[in-house]
Amino acid sequence: MSNDLTISRRAVLAGTGALIFSFSASPLPAQDAAAPPSASPPAPPLPGSLKQFPYLDSWIRIDAGGSITVCTGKAELGQGIKTALSQIAAEQLDADFDKVEIITADTALTPNEGYTAGSHSLQDSGTAILHAAAQVRQILIAEAAKRAAMPPERMQTQRAAVIAPDGRRFGYGDLVSAALLHVQAAPQSPLKAPSDYNIMGQAQQRIDIPAKVTGGAAYVQDLRPDGMVHGRVVRPPSYGATLTDVDAAAIEKMPGVVKVVRDGSFLGVIAEREFQAVEAMRALAAAAHWQETAKLPDGAALPALLLGLPSQDTAVFDQHGPAPGNGKTLSATYTRPYVSHGSIGPSCAVARFDGDALTVWTHTQGVYPDRDAIAEMLRMPKEKVRLTHAEGSGCYGHNGADDAAADAAVLARALPGRPVRVQWTREQEHAWEPYGPAMVVKVSASLDATGRKIADWDYGVWSNTHSMRPGGAGALLAAQSLAQPFTPPPPKPIPMPEGGGDRNSIPLYKFPSARVVSRFLPTMPVRVSALRALGGYMNVFCIESFMDELALAAGADPVEFRLQHLDDPRARDAVSTAAKNFGWPGKAAPGHGNGFAFARYKNLAAYCAIACEVEVDRESGRARMVRAVAAVDSGQVVNPDGIKNQIEGAILQSTSWTLFENVTFDHRRITSVDWASYPILRFSDVPDAVDVHVIDRPGTPFLGSGEAGQGPAAAAVANAIANATGKRFRDLPISRQRIKTAIGV
């Protein structure tokens, strides 16, 4: 959150008239967001998050001065959501884009939209705002028509005003009154025709970027409320270690140290200045004695370990066609290690405790669930805890954000009246974040009698849960280490159709017979949770690698082979668009290879196809993506440049996961604790060109695209490496060492 935003929020709160009077971020009728609206006659469901928060003024507020404020329960994570949601509101309201203010996730101000995750923001919040804005515009038109004594059909809207046929102009601010927008949404909205759009669908510069390139206050790290002090925590050396002894007397005397806070095995220090806190933290870490108990598995034997863990098996897809005949059968096993979110800025939070109320500024993805968890941890009533989202560094899922917020809350409680800023160290972020889980996939498939098509497909995926988000207090590191600790909740699989480990495990391709079994592993040797795309990254990597293996066996071109099994026209369109713009199949230069991959994220969000060229240096085994061409269909496009930015980023980040990344540990401790021990993609690994083609589908539902590129990028890279080297790599990461060993130079 920027200071500017603080001011504008304050202005919002101080505002009088319609704006604040009609504010209603509470769902109907109860306080429980999950409770359905109680309207007695069963009405058709409301679109998007209007289902939970049907009042129009939960989403759109207009004050007497005509200022328009959009409220969303979703958070800006660097994905450009503030800009896209503002575009939607401005378009449907007929207001200038730059006149629309937006308030994001805040338990005191916005609807509870759960987590900003799963590429759901446009689908949930965007859809709610689209419809709410259209209905608000209709209400304002009706009000103006009444005042002008004209039929509403003859009124027009333009730049936040209703214009009567005789030229009279009614500004939105003049039309609103306290109760006007405090009405429940109708199931149908008078949406504009997409052909009339002039804000949605147009590339819009992001509203958050100017501050970010000029040193404006843009992040939680940049908050400096009066009287702020600096907190640091000392984490145990390994999972579950208990603090046996610490002599803090000397540390309490260090310059600037305000307080050492110990509660069970939770250990932290507060100092006046930041570097004083850093030095005190180091001294405290040196003075602490721990009893370590963790037993981590042998990283090299991880796949075997996962396959041997007790599993809960669910057939998520089971279809029996005619017997496959006696075509060729292929089988393969694919593995993936633990992968780190690796946010460039380690997690940070600011908290202030005032007697009986707590405020936390945090880059959590879910202000409401994290608020509930922190309230539970501190045994405070929820209403006394406020969480306000403030941007952090990109998170790509569940990183240390919630834990840092909890740390700040515990330290702030120990020093009432002073805001405490907690900044995690690089080593803490790397060692303590919940990683994307290690996974194993076993797949076999048979070709039919013609040898050209797949007749039978059998797929199993072994995985831990992909979400240990709070949840309750037990999900928070701080809560787990207090003298009266909370235990982590039992892990649960995320059900299909979205899925967790089994996300995207069902191929979109059509096979006569197919069986997909999700083998959920409740035992978690290493701390894990949601990493961008969840199981979708691994499953798409596996399915799309195996499709290439099968295409090779069928003697078919990989793109042709995919199209033969694909009947969804939008899927076919994405595949063809990427292939055509890449110049598929092309002819790779010596040492180069081309690869292709496709998926529809979660089988229900954006379609994404990627073709890429990779070069492999035979001496060193080094692989580099040379160029990539992507085609993405996200339904109705809001900000085409935003989609391109997301897909470009997905391609580079996924390439990094795929070629370089692997969380390491010894029998007790995590050993990949910085950028030297956990290398990621650097500029020398960056492609020459990445080209993203956005396929617009005007008037169709928004399909989130934030995670759509992760899986296809990984498989396209793997397929290109196979094409370049003649060797198939089924274990991630496809490291330089693995390539060198396989091609045996």
Partner: protein, 159 residues
């Protein structure tokens, strides 16, 4: 001790072992330089010292007497951005943006020292700085655009 930051003299009363980053952020309330690792491994904290990029997270104040320090705040503002800032905005070269201030400062050093750097030189120059969002393609485009903006401004001024 006295520090010359963005062409202004600042008097700071801080332990000279303190890394510059903390003084910039906490004492001078400058937001741009970011804490990313504190280990000299990521470049999020990059600033210029006498025109050269340094990791402010591992540069103690004691080394900075009499040197000219430049941060993103010393380049331009939202209303009057420097060419490199304008280029980043025009290319929309940010996702979360957390790495960007460091990227801008490293790029600025290149624009000062080797204004006509070619693509390979730009990549090699930016190598120490990490971006986790995968914004690299846009960052590279922004640096090239900044070269163009500067060239155009110079030709304009000359002609």
């Amino acid at each position: 001790m006295k520090l010359d930051i963005n062409n202004r003299q600042h008097d700071v009363d801080v332990d000279p072992r303190t890394p510059l980053l903390y003084v910039l952020r906490d004492d001078l309330k400058l937001n741009a330089a970011k804490f990313g690792c504190g280990l000299g491994q990521c470049g999020a904290c990059t600033v210029l010292v006498d025109g050269k990029p340094v990791f402010s997270c591992v540069t103690p104040l004691a080394l900075l007497a009499g040197k000219k320090i430049t941060t993103v705040e010393g380049l331009g503002t939202t209303d009057n951005p420097a060419p490199i800032q304008r280029a980043f905005i025009e290319e929309q070269a940010a996702q979360c943006g957390y790495c960007i201030a460091g990227m801008i400062m490293r790029a600025q050093a290149l624009l000062l020292g080797n204004p006509h750097a070619d693509d390979a030189e730009i990549r090699a120059w930016l190598e120490p700085n990490l971006c986790r969002c995968g914004t690299h393609m846009r960052i590279l485009r922004a640096v090239r655009r900044a070269q163009e903006l500067i060239k155009t401004a110079q030709t304009g001024a000359a002609g």
